[in-house]
């Protein structure tokens, strides 16, 4: 027998502060609170630490404590290790969980520091001097052929490929309708449009409610091809082929039938209530040549008017794969690091497969430069970008732009509780239950997401100005403005940075 495990959280209600208003009961979709006469009863075992009750309590009466009951401490046999064993001893199954990598790996971003000017070259004040943050994503010609006409005019002979212009290097990554609610998608799409950036659809099709923002949407083509038809491809500003995802490299995805409601069935174009199974590979891509063929197929279908991105998970040989992608007509490669989020992934993949985005971006950038093809493709970094400092560091390591996911959800209220897969998200984000979805006001949430992007953009301008750089382009791949702090020599070699003080 295994018996009960210690409760993960303990809720306490301060009886002096509580006025029994019942907002916690209404707001908790996990059933922690109930009314017992004139008091509020608590079942701590149901708690996920989503903090909805705390956010809604008018009297600050609720407290949540994590791990109120300890196991015997042990550095190897952690609580998580032991509880996974108890779970699998009971079920014999693969453990699934939500959000990103939950193991305590060192965060490389936090061991890199940025540079600023002092005395010898003056820093720039963004209030006074323009700092260019516009980025163009897509292929750049290696050379330009010009024709000089009579009268001194010059004609460009080189045919340019369409690029995406982003006003800020922060984009919103692919989170499908199904994984998140339509209100959450609409809010983020509106924010992307307002801030001059783009947002991904994920592999869930494009709901009609998003059509007003379609010129700011990157439509995804993944292995299940859900929601993909010529209309969908033509609506998007760009098309992204999803090969892999940082949270679960090498495996596909399953949206269980119970989440395929009428509206989701319509956008994914599958019957209501049926499982949406995305196979692990694309079954028309078994080689790098096949990938190039799908890139061409998508471009041919959209008459070569749309940029095509390819998203891969950061894995050991990510640099060689990216170099292969750069030699196809693809316009950008998205590298999703091992901290990337997800609605649901096997914990063994989420926590153990893939490599950090910092190392992946640096090695991709280096490989592309070594091969003289960095201009052939833009590099988008994603997976665990928490703030403008991470954006600046990712760009200095060689990215053109970043995708954010969890950060955008947090801007709408998400507390990173990691229970997305349960479909009960009390914030109205990772749920399809109409009463919960209605809690997320798209107007308010879009303003919050737009605020976040604006704030990071302001901070980026300040960071650039302080470093005496007046254009984001001059930060890209600029390792001289980074130093490693407490990083080992082999990793600094991969990142191509020197240590602090050097």
């Amino acid at each position: 027998m295994i018996g009960s495990l210690p409760s993960r959280y303990r809720i306490s209600i301060d009886p002096v502060r509580c006025m029994e208003c019942g907002r916690c009961i209404e707001n908790c979709s996990y059933g922690v609170f109930s009314r017992d006469g004139d008091r509020i009863q608590v079942n701590s075992r149901n708690c996920t630490a989503c903090h909805r009750c705390i956010a809604c309590c008018p009297r600050d009466a609720i407290g949540i404590e994590e791990h109120p009951c300890d196991y015997r401490s042990h550095p190897l046999w952690t609580r998580e290790a032991r509880e996974s064993i108890y779970n699998q001893a009971r079920t014999g199954k693969i453990i699934l969980a939500g959000m990103g990598n939950a193991l305590d790996y060192p965060v490389i971003f936090d061991r890199l520091v940025l540079d600023a000017c002092q005395v010898t070259n003056p820093s720039l004040d963004p209030l006074r001097e323009p700092i260019e943050l516009v980025t163009h994503l897509g292929k750049r010609p290696a050379r330009l052929d010009l024709l000089r006409r009579e009268g001194g005019d010059v004609e460009l002979k080189t045919r340019l490929t369409p690029n995406l212009r982003i006003e800020t290097p922060v984009m919103i990554g692919h989170m499908s309708y199904g994984a998140i609610s339509l209100n959450a998608q609409v809010a983020m799409a509106r924010a992307a449009k307002e801030t001059g950036t783009y947002m991904g659809t994920g592999e869930g099709g494009l709901h009609a409610a998003l059509h007003p923002y379609q010129d700011r949407m990157i439509v995804q083509v993944a292995s299940g091809r859900f929601g993909v038809n010529i209309d969908y491809l033509e609506r998007g500003a760009a098309v992204e082929i999803k090969i892999g995802q940082g949270a679960k490299p090498g495996i596909g995805g399953h949206l269980p039938g119970e989440k395929v409601c009428a509206e989701i069935s319509r956008t994914r174009m599958i019957p209501e209530g049926s499982d949406a199974i995305s196979p692990a590979p694309h079954h028309d891509i078994y080689s790098i040549e096949d990938l190039a063929q799908l890139v061409r197929g998508l471009k041919e279908a959209t008459e070569w008017k749309k940029p095509v991105f390819v998203k891969i998970a950061a894995v050991h040989n990510v640099a060689a794969i990216a170099a292969g992608i750069a030699r196809s007509p693809a316009d950008a490669v998205v590298i999703d690091g091992f901290r990337g989020g997800t609605g649901a992934a096997p914990t063994v993949f989420r926590d153990h497969v893939g490599i950090p985005i910092e190392a992946a971006v640096a090695s991709v950038d280096k490989k592309l430069r070594d091969q003289g093809i960095r201009n052939e493709i833009s590099v988008i970094a994603s997976g665990g970008i928490r703030g403008s400092a991470d954006v600046a560091k990712a760009i200095a390591l060689g990215a053109d732009a970043v995708y954010i996911g969890t950060a955008a959800l947090a801007a709408m209220g998400c507390r990173v509780c990691g229970n997305c897969y349960r479909g009960l998200c009390p914030w109205g984000i990772a749920t399809q239950r109409p009463d919960l979805v209605a809690r997320l006001n798209p107007n308010e949430a879009s303003e919050q997401v737009a605020n976040l992007i604006r704030a990071w953009t302001l901070e980026l301008a300040e960071l650039l100005g302080a470093a005496g750089i007046n254009s984001i382009e001059s930060l890209r791949g600029n390792r001289d403005r980074l130093r490693g702090y407490m990083l080992d020599e082999s990793l600094m070699e991969v990142l191509d940075v020197r240590g602090v003080g050097a």
């Binding site: 292995s223 010529i230 196979p279 041919e300 279908a301």
Partner: protein, 245 residues
């Protein structure tokens, strides 16, 4: 009167070739005859409307990919994945076709007179009135109907035994119908055999007749023949694998 346009594909790259086909459709062509096709890819890719495109020669990969409406008739073989992610319309191939035929097809028909390669009909799916149909006159190779989520996949085996093995691995919707008996050992995990009922036969008969008419075959012996029907053992092939944290 039907408007016919002729295009000579000799030595033409697929992009300008597809531009010519697109232009012909925009100009109101009902029938476009493309001569001297030699492996040009993506013919009919993303096209709408109801024109007929006759491909004389060997069509390259991803024929009729994302196509929505037109009919493509190939007097020859077709390479990798004809009908890939096709939405509606019809593809008729008088020769054989490569791997991943009708990959992720959501609607329309793909008829292949000869054989097809590996992973035929993989991840075909259906939605509302859209129900894709793949009919193979000859044989199919391994992983036929893998991950199939909807539609009808019919293999007639007109030129000898059907060689498909690992049939229907991960199938969770739709049906695979193969003329003759299929050994249990040829079925993959997740697929099961059922006898073809009279209702099933009535349902597939019009498809067989249409196929026979397209290729000048005698339909009735095929309609009356013995068939094996392969369907999902469960609509949730992965449901039992996972537990939550």
């Amino acid at each position: 009167m039907a408007k016919q346009v002729k295009i000579d594909a000799k030595g033409v790259h697929y992009t300008p070739l597809n531009q010519q086909i697109r232009k012909a459709i925009e100009d109101g062509a009902d029938e476009i005859v493309v001569d001297n096709v030699l492996g040009q890819r993506f013919i009919g890719n993303g096209l709408r409307g109801n024109a007929t495109i006759r491909v004389k020669g060997v069509a390259g990969g991803d024929l009729a990919m994302f196509m929505s409406g037109p009919t493509v008739i190939v007097d020859g073989n077709a390479e990798h994945a004809p009908g890939n992610t096709m939405d509606s319309g019809k593809v008729v191939i008088h020769g054989s076709a490569g791997d991943a035929v009708a990959h992720s097809m959501r609607g329309g028909k793909v008829f292949v007179r000869g054989d097809i390669g590996y992973r035929g009909g993989i991840h075909m799916k259906q939605y509302e009135t859209q129900r894709p149909i793949l009919v193979v006159g000859g044989s199919a190779q391994m992983f036929l109907g893998e991950y199939m989520a909807g539609g009808l996949l019919l293999v007639l085996g007109l030129d000898g035994a059907v060689k498909a093995r690992e049939i229907g691995s991960g199938i969770h919707g739709g049906e695979i119908v193969i003329r003759g008996d299929v050994d249990d050992a040829c079925l993959a995990a997740g697929a099961k055999k059922l006898p073809l009922t009279d209702e099933d036969r009535a349902r597939i008969a019009p498809v067989i007749r249409e196929f026979a008419a397209d290729f000048g075959l005698d339909a009735e012996p095929l309609v009356k023949a013995n068939y094996t029907r392969i369907v999902p053992a469960s609509a949730r092939p992965f449901a039992g694998k996972y537990t939550w944290e």
